[in-house]
Symmetry: C2
Subunit: 281 residues, 2 copies
């Protein structure tokens, strides 16, 4: 298909959403050479089909032999375990990959763009490009490990935590992922709607709203815009989340468990307009 589909003249979106394509991160154990990896990815990209999606545009899941690499923007993985009950399994950011095994063919499962996104669809079995098969395998393995770690945190979040700890953990994860020690800009972007967040956390969006408001009343956070909040009392937030140590270990700079979380930088987040939805593929 090439990169047809949806690359029409978006007023200014192409320039507005603030996501830089970041290189894939590796798992802590056996970290392959960073520069090498980046090159591999570039090479792989030239062999895949590029697709651009506009906000709220959907895409079917990659087939078994395919792997989708997100280069820019934010994607949601939607699933529908029970009729009418949407669950968002993950928010993906630049550098993340999706393969069929990451998202089983559940009824109603699909990828949905939160912001304008740019992605490449690669063929897993095609070993015949510039990239050595070994490197390629390593990359996939690293990503797989990565996904597993993310999924683990998610399991714990939606498993036994009550609403407050759950929301706190979500926010904390976002902050830790973004914050740099020197410039503690604790603003986090939430390009997705409250409903999306609620579906991710497996709570009601009303309940989410109430909880966020309570956090605001407690002086833990404040609202920057509708799609960005600033954390005021980081320690207070930590106290609300039993997963705080785990989140630090995994997401924090230097914590070094692995990279590539579901967060992204906030200061570049500008107005995001979700125009029309359209189905691709």
């Amino acid at each position: 298909m090439g990169d047809e589909g949806s690359r029409m003249n978006l007023p200014q979106n192409t320039d507005v959403h603030g996501f830089r394509p970041t290189p894939l991160r590796q798992s802590a154990a056996n970290p392959p050479n960073q520069k090498e990896m980046t090159r591999s990815i570039e090479a792989m990209c030239t062999h895949g089909e590029c697709v651009e999606l506009r906000p709220q545009q959907r895409m079917s899941l990659p087939s078994a032999e395919k792997v989708v690499l997100l280069r820019e923007g934010m994607l949601a993985i939607d699933a529908m375990p029970a009729k009418g009950k949407l669950q968002i399994l993950d928010f993906l950011v630049a550098g993340d990959v999706v393969s069929a095994s990451v998202v089983l063919p559940t009824r109603g499962a699909s990828l949905r763009a939160i912001t304008s996104t740019s992605l490449v669809s690669l063929d897993v079995s095609a070993n015949d490009f510039d990239v050595p098969a070994h490197e390629y395998r390593t990359l996939l393995f690293a990503q797989c490990q990565n996904q597993l770690a993310r999924v683990n945190i998610y399991q714990l979040m939606i498993g036994r935590l009550e609403t407050e700890p759950r929301v706190a953990s979500f926010l904390l994860g976002l902050v830790l992922r973004n914050a740099s020690e020197d410039a503690p800009d604790l603003t986090i972007a939430l390009p997705m709607s409250r409903t999306d967040i609620a579906n991710y956390l497996v709570i009601n969006s009303d309940t989410l709203s109430r909880t966020m408001m309570r956090f605001r009343a407690l002086g833990l956070i404040e609202r920057a815009t509708r799609h960005a909040i600033r954390v005021i009392d980081l320690d207070g937030l930590r106290k609300k989340s039993p997963l705080a140590p785990l989140l630090s270990a995994v997401f924090e700079k230097g914590g070094g468990w692995l990279g590539s979380g579901f967060a992204h930088h906030a200061e570049r987040t500008a107005p995001i307009h979700p125009p029309t939805a359209r189905i691709v593929s």
Copy 2:
């Protein structure tokens, strides 16, 4: 350490639990040669440290460079997201592997033997044995994919399903994994306690009990022994589980999504005595 630890004279346990060490299964995409794989595993085993665990014995999680391969028996992966709230992330059976990335270092996370188990601890970075590095990588990757698929189902189960569908899905998964088309023995073993199951499903054990009783009253299942139930009305069970199609696709013989589920054969399940707990390592 070799295989010291806990191999004292258990009355008859060593002979009683009915788990055969099964070969690792592969993901559907790119399935490596089965016989080759089995050989790899054998070879790898000779290079790892073997450990035997008795029921309820605990073991710390494998360190980052290690991978634990379960050869026989059943293990639970315990985690404690919030103080006092145990969550069982997975039940592992012969052929499954655990690595650090599969279970993040959460507070209170550990492996616990449900039945007597036999396992090997392998060093991921040691590429210098009989097994070609390539094969080894492939194996790990396949297992990783495997885990991801399992984890996905789990997410959907504990995510948005209510109690009945959740329990039904759990049972259905177990049945589908065991049943062979010709001899539909719908007996499933539950070597773990109700509390363990409840902690896996993230529901209260009281609620689990009630639900199971309701299923029994509805004629969906009947109790064989305390640690085994028989499914009477498979279709009835399916109707209770929105995940039925997914479970079929993943676990059913010939469904061919992948192998290695959390279920195991039931007819060989004999009295299981959980004697004393002990901490290893």
